[in-house]
Amino acid sequence: MTGKSQLDFDVIIVGSGPAGVSAAFPLIEAGLRVMMVDGGNTPRQAPPSGQFLDLRQHDASQSNWMIGRDFHALRQSDAVSPKLRVPTHAAVFNGFKLANRIDADDFIAVGSLAPGGLSNAWGCGVACMTDDELASYPVLPSDMHESYRDVVKRMGVSGGSDDDLSEFFGLDEWSDAPVPIDSLQASLLARYPVRREKLLQSGFRLGRTRVAVLTEPRGERRACDRSGNCLWGCGRRALYSATEDLQALRSRPGFHYKSGFVVERVTHKEGRVTVEGRGEEGAGALQARRVLLAAGTLASTRLALQAVDHRAPVPMQSCPTAAFMLWLPRYLGRTQEAAFGLGQLSFSLGLGRDVQAFGSLFNSMGIPVTEFARHMPFGKRYGVDLLASLLPSCVIGNVFLPGAMTDASLCLGAEDRLVVRGTYREEVAPLMKEAQRLLCASFRQLGAILIPTSFKVGLPGADIHYAASLPMHANPVVGQTDRYGELAGVSGIHVVDGASLSALPAKSHTLTIMANADRIAKHLAIRLMAVESSV
């Protein structure tokens, strides 16, 4: 076994997103030397600071952050999600597929080269998986529980309340109070106890969304003041991003960081792993005892399949998604007010015998009206007329189905490029119909009308929840990983991001990725330290 003196690092972590930083802490705390690399894309446009509605009324240069000096939003006019048009997030998404040699075939494939990864632009939804949901994972639920706790305490989560989703989210013991709710969603929540029995029977449960947003200040990060800039980036840093943890890690002894280094190949030989990549100074290679792949499901899967030269397609999971709009007629004529822009209410929905859907509701205030107008069968002028009057009394919703409902695959092809393909399974269409019917009926009970034409099913991959392409198995075969994310067929390479989840339920999965990375790193820390002391 290679001793400490011969290698510069014990562990190389590829990627500085939620998975990468979560894996780094236990290793650093054990005294190991960690090198973290990422794509190094940094933002060129700062997020707005101030109250969204004030800025919109008075900031003459608002087009800098709404459209971008380089017209980023117009360049991305075909992109599937409003987030992809936000100039402050341009660096989060730019160049990912090109640098990581990923080709998508009729599938929305998104990833990040930015420090902090996709968490720079995420919806901040957090949830723990229940023991049932962890049944297909070859891990002890108690280990996961411990990791969930440690990660939640580090990142800061709010939304804890005693409601019908407490068990579903499973993290209230570590959560702060929720962000104050807006008047529209408050009215939905107020009616819920009255209709609760009936709704529960139909499979609909409602509660506050558990989100990684601060309602209590933490160090330099300030608490949410409902300024409504969530889509555009939070100048107060109330929304969790892995860059917060990355910053903390950089002051820790034993932590090394190389930004702007895109990894092209990972190989294992004689007890050491070599990570080859390309940085600002040209091609380079790093060596360590272990490498943890945390580059995001797509990029990590490419590196892993390349490392074991696995050329057959591997399946991937991705949650079919739909969006809809609720109208609360009582609130017609209301004027827009400052509000939190991410999930305030969430629901779980039992569809059929064993399909559980999940979704959240959002205030419309911070989202450009153009984003709604583009989906409306109206001319531009009358579309704006209508939306300006209608939107203040509307609530936006989304709904996710379990990831197994998408038949997606990843295949390493010519020139080691990764081809992503995926379609929805046949049952998605009827399940979405059923979801629409159930949501329509449930929200009518709560005083809201689901605008029928607003219910739109997204394209495969539009959820950007990709997972389980290299799933953890108790007895893994090539193309899978063991209970510690170690890739079968080669030693020393661990997959610690979404790729190694064993299954992807409909609920938000980021926290599970982080907890799993934390769990694997805790185990590795013990193993590597034990080897060291035996040497």
Binding site: S63, F71, L74, S77, L332, G333, Q336, P368, T370
Partner: protein, 421 residues
């Protein structure tokens, strides 16, 4: 690749050098005077010197643009000889030849100019080269024949309106240059006629110069072409040539070229004359008008100047930078755009471009204090009944718009069919 250009310091040559450099080519300028530009090397070349010519080995294509500007009668073989030397030198290093000919090129052209071009065309094609016959080249710096016409329009108290009207087929110099650079991708021994598909009256062309380049709006007076012909006869060939009258004869003899198929072959869309004639060659003024119309349509009030400029910049940065051919009436009454917005039965490319631009206008409009009032509904009082009334009006407006689109379909389907954008 590395390309050689004769006449690189001329009217078309300079634009070709610029475009070729932007496309990443290395350039060897073959000209009498050295050319001091970064990325351009120079080799002396004179049509008249009759010295042996050898080209560097790495030259892939030779663009032959050089012409003799002074017509010395009786010595007309100079241009053919020079072309011959060039074609042979190109063959030695295995380079292709692109020859810029003329619309006047013809075996029995009325002018020596046209006959010489015809002969050089033959040599070029025999060597497997490409021949481009441009129509009336215009735009950019005021050089060459275009420069001469600009000077005339500035100086002449009145413009001649020849009877019968000679027609020219304009082509913007930058569009021509795009075609030249696309030649090597075409089959060898190809002739490409490049100009507007339809002719423009010569006087209308001069008026377009006046509109685009001067503050003058000169009056035209009719001049029978017969008068010029008689004058040429009286003055004799040499003197008329010196006065440039033979060029007029050449103009009167121009036959319309069929250019549609060739334009399609090289997939170049020519910019409209009005847009190309402006100094930018891009029609910023028209684009600003378009921006104002689209933004007014979306905002319902006159947009701030900054928004109009931002819209124009966006179209210049991301699209062709040219205004769409909108009916005059819609330019005056932006509300009428509602009829065109998403209308069926109109040209597909135009419909898509219009949809993209209207959405861009919408995003530009929204991202402003003015847009915040309109889009977020902050600029008017709230209240349930007011809200209900506004929704009623919006739906009514949309319904009327749809009915209007059905009724006016035959008229709307004509919009946007012509013109590049």
């Amino acid at each position: 690749m590395r390309i050689a250009i004769t006449g690189a310091t001329g009217y078309i040559g300079r634009r070709l050098v610029r475009a070729a450099r932007l496309a990443g080519h290395e350039i060897l300028a073959l000209s009498r005077r050295p050319m001091a530009e970064p990325g351009v090397t120079w080799q002396a070349f004179d049509l008249a010197d009759n010295l042996p010519l050898s080209l560097p080995e790495d030259i892939a294509v030779v663009f032959h643009l050089a012409v003799k500007t002074q017509h010395d009668f009786g010595e007309s073989s100079v241009e053919q000889d020079a072309a011959q030397r060039l074609i042979e030198a190109a063959a030695v290093v295995g380079a292709g030849v692109v020859f810029v000919s003329s619309q006047a090129a013809c075996a029995d052209a009325p002018t020596a100019y046209g006959r010489i071009k015809w002969q050089i065309e033959g040599k070029t094609l025999a060597a497997g080269g490409w021949v481009v016959r441009p129509g009336q080249v215009y735009g950019g710096a005021e050089l060459g024949l275009f420069g001469l016409l600009c000077t005339l329009v500035r100086r002449l108290p009145v413009l001649p309106a020849f009877i019968p009207t000679p027609y020219v087929q304009p082509v913007h110099v930058d569009d021509l240059v795009d075609v030249l650079l696309a030649c090597p991708a075409q089959a060898p021994s190809t002739v490409l006629c490049i100009a507007a598909t339809e002719g423009v009256g010569f006087t209308a062309f001069l008026q377009a110069i006046a509109r685009g380049r001067t503050a003058r709006r000169p009056v035209s007076i009719p001049v029978p072409t017969l008068l010029i012909r008689i004058l040429v006869k009286l003055l004799g060939a040499r003197l008329s040539s010196r006065l440039g009258l033979d060029r007029l004869l050449s103009l009167f003899a121009l036959k319309l070229m069929d250019t549609a198929a060739d334009l399609q072959r090289v997939s170049v869309a020519l910019r409209p004359l009005g847009a190309g004639m402006t100094r930018s060659g891009r029609g910023r003024r028209e684009l600003l008008v378009e921006g104002r119309v689209f933004l007014t349509y979306v905002l319902r009030v006159r947009p701030a100047g900054a928004l109009v400029r931002r819209y124009a910049r966006a179209i210049e940065a991301l699209k062709s930078g040219r205004a769409l051919p909108l009916p005059e009436l819609m330019q005056r009454l932006p509300a009428l755009l509602a009829l065109l917005d998403g209308a069926g039965g109109i040209d597909d490319a135009f419909r898509r471009e219009l949809a993209w631009r209207l959405e861009a206008a919408m995003m530009v409009a929204e991202a402003s204090p003015q847009g915040a009032g309109r889009f977020l509904g902050l600029d008017r009082p709230g209240g349930w009944w007011r809200g209900a009334l506004r929704i009623f009006w919006a739906v009514s407006g949309e319904t009327i718009r749809r009915i209007g689109q059905v009724i006016l379909r035959p008229f709307l389907s004509r919009v946007g069919r012509r013109g590049a954008f």
